[in-house]
Homo-oligomer: 134 residues x 6
């Protein structure tokens, strides 16, 4: 299995609901450094998993939909805790949609699965991985 | 599959037995930077894999049982080489026991597997991963 | 010159005022990974720059005064942009105050200068350094 | 499953053919920081996955066959784009050959699979993983 | 003294002349991860050292003048070894020129000095620092 | 001012004397990842600060004198606490001696100062810097 991974970041405000979150129930924020890994069993005719330039641009576009926002006020997340693991899934789903729209090029059709990792500090990260649905 | 990972470290002395270890047969030591990744297929009602605060505290407790010790004198490791990969398994087993005792909370019941990685330097690490047994 | 440095982090929400900040004028947030370096020309009688345990605890206490807050609502920062470089200075000043109160121990009297670095992402950081005033 | 991973690096020149590569069609170069992870379900009698010293030496030998070269002039790569993911596979195959020749020692016979990761910058990496064929 | 630092990277081919370089006399290449630190004694009216967005864009522009090139064929470097330390100075000088042209904004007039660091691998880096000349 | 820095590591056992060290008074150990930075105001005729190959070899030789040892039994350190900052100075002095013996080559005569940093974990490091005495 081959993989290619690209990295970018975004910065948001949010708060959590539930006693388990302790002081994180207050409005605070985070920088998330995001890694998106694309996986496929064979390379395409150019010898690549995915066009790394397009992958980087697509990730930047997906993160632009979240960056510099207060997630508590984003309708799509109403009633949900925007935890690191939850956001990893959101970005995974949006990357799959972008692949489905052809943003990563025709060659990206061979991508079978992906993994999205969000680093929230030097001592904690979360991830979501699964098959790429189109 | 969702993951959450927390990081801490511990510092120990030990020596190895066996020609394969060369100069590491002498009494020396290591800092191990430890990552524990918890995995489950769905988030709990709070939108998390595990309470990251409890996970961090539990890891700290497990490492406290090893930290600042000469592992050559720890009865539990008698006759064993406390290699990085061996210690990854020890910490994996002790984290599973802590989950079994409920230290990570009721929500942690959904954790299916885990991976423990020990970084021994900037150029080498070892890991153990497997299903979480209770 | 000898140095010792300890690391911790905190997570906050804030917004900026001024066209230069572009989309960062909206309420957003950040994780800051903080390094505090202490400098002195000679070691104390124990052979250290500072008690690393006390330094870590003192830094944790200083960061607890900022962690999980919306800095826009903190009276001490009223009318100020809480930029990364501004916050580096705030933490520098509060560490100096802690040294002045003796929180780092008597041996810390030999510390001449310090440097506080805040990493806001994998591609940007800011710092403040200067003599330790008491 | 147990893992052990060692790291080294190499520096090469190359160019790519295909419009997808944009300016990377020009002769340029890269530093690749290489991680090779070895996996096996049980430790050997010494308590290790692989002799980390031998693994490091074998990796160094494999990378010496690529280091400080213009890959456009290497006959083995004629007509191929030496992308990061392609090179990950090349190194994987050469490590398998070295295991087959016994360079990692008799104990390495238990290694079932491996993963080779090439970091080409702080924001991109590629990998190849698979069963170790002998 | 305050600092702000931004990071980017570029990838080039080159060769060196001189027995001291050993195998690096052959045509090879490198990825350089570049940190540019700006220093000034006081913050501007917005509370910043430099507009981090402009600093990032300016650095990207400077690196675009080097990226994906064979430095052996760049007239400006004729007869020079384009070592990591030499390139750190080149980037330092070009950043100073950009500041002089006003690319970092009027507020950047307060920047007194800078440091440019080029990471060539996980085990080696070089830097050039000095006063910002205009 | 130009800098070049190389990295390596060593692994030792030791214990500390003094109540300030708490549990670190017990025999334990550490991995130290070591950075040695060499500084000079102008490059030599080859365009370098120091021959990076020689610098790496010299550092490896200096660390070989400490690696895989119990520092409590090293006569040179009798009666001293081998703290991270103390060891940074030891390595600094030994690197200066190696420069004095000509191990880094004739060109290294231009090196004015150096900085030795020892990373003992992901959250703590110590350093010693000063003029290179011969």
């Amino acid at each position: 299995m081959y993989s290619v991974c690209v990295r970018d970041h975004f910065m948001i405000a949010h708060s959590f609901r539930g006693a388990v979150f302790g002081p994180a129930q207050r409005l605070h924020g985070a920088t998330y450094v995001v890694d998106v890994e694309f996986r496929r069993p064979a390379l395409d005719d150019d010898g690549i998993v995915v066009d790394i330039g397009r992958a980087t641009d697509t990730l930047k576009g997906v993160l632009a939909g979240l960056n510099f926002q207060n997630l508590d006020e984003v309708p799509a997340f109403s009633g949900r805790n925007t935890t690191t693991e939850f956001l990893a899934r959101v970005i995974f789903d949006r990357m799959c949609e972008a692949i489905g729209r052809g943003e990563l090029g025709a060659g990206a059709g061979g991508i079978e699965s992906a993994r999205v990792t969000l680093h929230e500090s030097h001592v904690a990260w979360a991830a979501y991985e699964g098959p790429v649905t189109r």
